[in-house]
């Protein structure tokens, strides 16, 4: 059972039934190789695993816009979670039943994304157990849209704003939780994320920015050096990259929270949780 470094996981835990899930839209930002995909897999596993292994047993829809879903990596994380639990061992049938709760849709352009989201409405209504929508990544068509739109900014942002409106409607009507990753367009300097992340303001359209209620900014920390434990005879130092997640949200009371996690063979492992100063009230 991973330590819920971010309370949103605790939130998800409380909401199993579709009716009870409070609609939230999370945007996951961060530079390349900063653990965003790993966080997504972590959430995915948490949702599809059977209750015996600590999961929520809900259906998940994964919208893949840049062909980045690594099914093998996902399967290996699921496998290690299942066998760490000890109950079913590495039972193939259990793994397949977990994977069958996942629905993958691949989009190759923003118009296809818009049409697919419309199509998903019918899918969501026919699958009452679908509780989570993951979009990786929402910024994949940013440059194609910009060049197609020509000189007018409104035209450039048109498709993404329509997608955002549709997502907003899905949130209200079906009460699902949506996670989306966003790739930045500038290389941000590596350093501790500031509490007022104005510099990291999303470059996507206004309709999207209005929709986002929580934002998780991932960044890399200095690599930790773990001394050789003797299990590797060569004495080589294994650098384990530690990532920090800075979660800020602006629904109700404002608040922010910082956690760290490490990526291991078994997926994401939370390291420690940094409690915010007592003055700020923590949302989520």
């Amino acid at each position: 059972m991973s330590e819920s470094g971010t309370q949103l996981l605790a939130r998800l835990e409380a909401r199993r039934c579709l009716k009870d899930i409070e609609p939230q839209l999370f945007a996951d930002d961060g530079g390349p190789d900063r653990g965003k995909t790993e966080l997504l897999y972590h959430l995915l596993c948490r949702c599809v695993l059977p209750e015996a292994a600590g999961g929520l047993e809900v259906d998940v829809v994964f919208v893949d816009t840049d062909y980045s879903l690594d099914v093998f990596r996902l399967a290996s994380v699921l496998d290690s979670r299942l066998s760490a639990d000890g109950s079913a061992g590495s039972d193939d049938a259990v793994l397949r039943s977990c994977l069958s709760r996942l629905l993958v849709v691949r989009c190759s352009s923003s118009s296809e994304l818009l049409l697919t989201l419309h199509f998903l409405e019918t899918t969501l209504s026919s699958r009452p157990k679908a509780a989570l929508l993951l979009i990786d990544s929402i910024s994949a068509f940013y440059w194609s849209d910009r060049s197609e739109g020509g000189a007018s900014v409104a035209k450039q942002e048109e498709k993404l704003s329509r997608c955002s409106e549709l997502l907003g409607r899905l949130l209200r009507d079906y009460r699902i939780t949506i996670f989306a990753t966003c790739h930045p367009i500038r290389r941000t300097s590596s350093g501790p994320p500031s509490s007022s992340s104005e510099a990291d303001r999303s470059h996507l359209c206004r309709a999207w920015q209005r929709l986002v209620t929580h934002r998780l900014v991932c960044s890399k920390q200095e690599a930790e050096h773990n001394p050789a434990n003797g299990d590797q005879g060569s004495g080589e130092q294994r650098n384990r990259q530690v990532f920090t997640v800075h979660c800020s949200s602006w629904t109700g009371t404002k608040g922010s929270r910082v956690s760290s996690f490490r990526v291991t063979d078994g997926g994401v492992e939370f390291v420690w949780t940094h409690r915010p100063p007592p003055g700020l009230s923590v949302v989520l």
Binding site: V48, V105, L114, H118, I185, S189, R238
Partner: protein, 337 residues
């Protein structure tokens, strides 16, 4: 945006199209996003007919959802791991190039990227007996060098020719030609080489940054959008046709002076695995060091030293060798007449 045309689907005739255009509905997206009841009233058509048209259009133009379990099954049966021919590189890549993924080699000039690409192409064509597509954008590919590498593998002229025939080469120097070539390969109108045939297992693009880097920067958006199209085409080839894609990239210096791969942040999430090649200061001329800078399977920053002359090792120990490689060289020398 997909425009609405007559005959796109049953029920979409001239009359309906005209009334839709009058109501300012010109594309499929407009039709799908609008309120059907409202639209039916405005165009004075039956709600049922319009709803049916909407449903058919939606089914035609959306991506087909796949269950995770089916995807997993499909990948299990179609994924293969292609060895690069060099055991040190294989160790770094977790036993070789994976089909369905893009692997990137970055390095400064003279760091051996093209040589590694030649070696991989020759190994796959000769030992694994699979077709390779080699797209050369720098002009550095010569058949003579490939033949030289093959001659160290076998002395049989027919086998050499057979292996060379499995390597399909394309020489292009700008991004539009590259996109044209990639789309042609996907659709099957290339010169005899078609990815859909099933025997092509590897695609090597040397180098992808040579055609994209000149377009980046400044106020133009086209460069980024073209880069994104190239990335999408490569990924489609890799995933849909189960091909291992190997690309090369240049390096730039980061703020702190260390080498980092070129083409910026937007390209960095395209390759699944990235290796940085550098010259080894001390040591023989053929030695290079490879560092794993991005991988989803192994801990990053593992370094391996290897010899560029591994792929032509029977040529003798000229300047190369040292360490464990000599035994490999000696073995091959014995089989030479």
């Amino acid at each position: 945006m997909v425009a609405l045309l007559v005959g796109m689907c049953p029920g979409l005739d001239e009359g309906l199209l005209r009334s839709l255009r009058a109501a300012d509905i010109r594309t499929v997206e407009d039709l799908v996003s609008s309120d059907i009841e409202d639209l039916a009233q405005k165009c004075s058509v039956s709600y049922k007919a319009l709803f049916a048209v909407r449903r058919v259009l939606l089914a035609q133009h959306t991506a087909f959802p796949v269950s995770g379990a089916d995807l997993y099954e499909e990948l299990l049966s179609s994924t293969a791991i292609l060895s690069t021919g060099n055991p040190s590189l294989d160790k770094l890549l977790d036993s070789g190039l994976y089909t369905g993924e893009i692997t990137e080699l970055t390095g400064g000039p003279g760091s051996g990227k093209s040589q590694v690409c030649f070696g991989v192409a020759v190994h796959i064509a000769y030992h694994l007996k699979q077709s390779v597509i080699y797209i050369d954008t720098t002009g550095g590919l010569t058949a003579g060098r490939l033949l030289q590498m093959l001659q160290t593998e076998t002395n049989n002229r027919d086998e050499q020719m057979e292996a060379l025939q499995r390597i399909h080469t394309f020489r292009l120097f700008d991004v539009c030609a590259l996109l044209d070539c990639l789309y042609g390969l996907i659709c099957g109108r290339g010169r005899g080489a078609c990815v859909g045939g099933g025997s092509v297992k590897a695609l090597i693009v040397d180098s992808v940054s040579a055609v994209i880097a000149p377009l980046l920067g400044g106020k133009q958006n086209e460069g980024m959008s073209l880069m994104r199209q190239v990335a999408a085409a490569l990924k489609t080839m890799a995933k849909d046709f189960s091909v291992a894609v190997l690309v090369t990239n240049h390096v730039t210096r980061s703020g702190s002076g260390e080498a980092q791969p070129g083409l910026g942040v937007s390209w960095s999430h395209v390759p699944t695995t990235r290796i940085l090649l550098e010259r080894v200061e001390s040591g023989a001329s053929g030695r290079r060091s490879a560092t794993l800078i991005k991988s989803s399977r192994q801990a990053c920053l593992i370094k391996e030293d290897f010899d560029l002359q591994w792929w032509s090792r029977a040529e003798g120990g000229r300047g190369g060798g040292g360490g464990g490689e000599t035994s490999g060289k000696r073995k091959l020398d014995e089989t030479d007449p």
